[in-house]
Symmetry: C2
Subunit: 347 residues, 2 copies
Amino acid sequence: MEKKKRVTIYDIAKHLGVSGTTVSRALSDHHSIGDKTKKAVLQAAKEMGYIPNTIAAGLRKKQTNTIGVLIPWINRPFISSMISGIEEVANDAGYNVIISQSCDSYKKEVANAETFFSNRVDGVIASMAMETEDFSHFNLFIDNDIALVFADRVGKNLPQDKVMIDNFAAAFEATEYLIHSGCRKIVHFTGAPNREIYKLRRAGYQDALEKNGIPYDEKLVFSGLLSGEEGVRNAKAILELKELPDGIFSANDTVAVHAMIELKKAGLKIPDDISFIGFNDDPIASIVEPQLTTVSHPALEIGRSSARQIIKRINAKHSSPPENIVLPTQIIVRESTRKLVKSVPPK
Amino acid sequence: MEKKKRVTIYDIAKHLGVSGTTVSRALSDHHSIGDKTKKAVLQAAKEMGYIPNTIAAGLRKKQTNTIGVLIPWINRPFISSMISGIEEVANDAGYNVIISQSCDSYKKEVANAETFFSNRVDGVIASMAMETEDFSHFNLFIDNDIALVFADRVGKNLPQDKVMIDNFAAAFEATEYLIHSGCRKIVHFTGAPNREIYKLRRAGYQDALEKNGIPYDEKLVFSGLLSGEEGVRNAKAILELKELPDGIFSANDTVAVHAMIELKKAGLKIPDDISFIGFNDDPIASIVEPQLTTVSHPALEIGRSSARQIIKRINAKHSSPPENIVLPTQIIVRESTRKLVKSVPPK
DNA sequence: TTTATTTACACAATCGATTGCGTAAAAGTT
DNA sequence: AACTTTTACGCAATCGATTGTGTAAATAAA
């Protein structure tokens, strides 16, 4: 498509017989421009249909008012809500949001990081791919003073701001909830162990077991991509076990729900035969029957908080030590767990 | 955050003792640059950590390789899948995707359109807000030769490319499916009538009724935002009816599923007392019990197709008449409908 | 009235890459 | 040997907005 001439500040300048400088300053309400001139410029700009060229301004000002968001997948309830939160805060603050999915691939993540840099985003909010083990591609931002905030799927030992939940505590509580409702043999569904969040949830699970005198058993941990199909596979594997578990703590809802459905098909009663606790509080959690007890994940708030943090960093005059923002989670008790037989100890 | 100096082509040029022109051309593999020079430039670029400044190039070339995506909400299964499809195709073609949600608000949609223009996106894929009735904000793109493709929620009578499904036919088939499975009193849940897609679905519903000798009854059409809460409200309203309907065709799954659950609570059997057909095939549709029969909406494919179309337009030398891309839908028969008592007539 | 200050604006460089045009040297042609 | 063509590269303008510096004129202060 051939490019048409767009209205620039010089068109306005010529129209009014002033300089481009004056127009630029009038538009940004600079003090050294007279009131009549300002009014005239604003008026002319409106009449002529002037819309500023952010690209040109960005080149000069070395800022684009753009935030890059690097996430594994966009079409997942948790992540799209997070993005929604980012969008909301960023837009209100005058920032644009550009989004790239890594599809959980390390290579794509690296490529996307370069693209963001190439587009000179002012800041990056990243949630890492399952595959990612090496973090050196983020040096692109760090070395070039581009603000960087990790959200949810954060890196370990990286000196950046992080916005996340307390995965260990959440998993500990969820597992203990199962124990307190009478479960003794608890299976855990987990994701790739190079993602800290899954490692921590698993650790919380393990710790809760041990604190309650239940031996931790490797064979009860099912690791993978946490997809729906995996839920079905996991369920089938569970049915093969010589002794069935009486509780399942899953690192996400998708795999939990699909496993639940499969186990129901096999005639098991939930929560009586097996109790379930999921993670995320996806829409499906409250639709499945029985409704899934799950750990709420404040997706929107993580998004909002990350956006606020990155904007703070972008505008900061000096660097300051990385912050760790931890958002609260809570167990949403529904129908896939039994009543507590023992009251939950005070925190 | 203060800006650091980044490596530019001039740094490379100085380093090698050539001109910026040569570096620029070497990097873009221009024929007039010697092989040794090219290699030297590439080498130096790599060593010095050069990453092109797309902003600067965009200013000069008057293209940003960016596609703006204007959607009502990002955190909805259908839309996030659509975006995923757009992303996939766009990224492969070297385009970035910048996303703005209108939150179904006309005002935000207009503001977002201006932002896109201000950022000089090469093309825009838009799915309109529920509120939008006036389309003049899109003239910004049309008048300035910025490619524009409408996806899913398209405008009526707008001379732009559209990627969508045949809403009328899909609704007709869905309604007729209910009729052929024995339903005689069919309720319809619909969205804002200024969105063509809902108008068409409603028209398809009406037409199917009339073609099958069932009188169309205004009072059986529930219009709104198609949210979950609305499903509950609708269900309650239905229970107040003097004569219960025996089928419900819903313009989305969310409202259908929540209504279904509410009706189940009231003791109604689905599909025996009331059959349900939804729209979209959201994840919840296959989780609810009984699983929801629904019309599949090829979200990913709509996204991919829109992206392909916008890229085609961006690269087109001359304008050509608008295209209407209609993607197939299909009824996913699950458990919320009864068996057909009459075979579906051949199309 | 003179000096200092403020007001209101313009000049020109700058951001980083691209590109039309120009040119010297090398290679090829008669 | 004289001429044409090709190869390889540089100059300088350009994209559109921003901004440090300079400078008249108007106003205020001395």
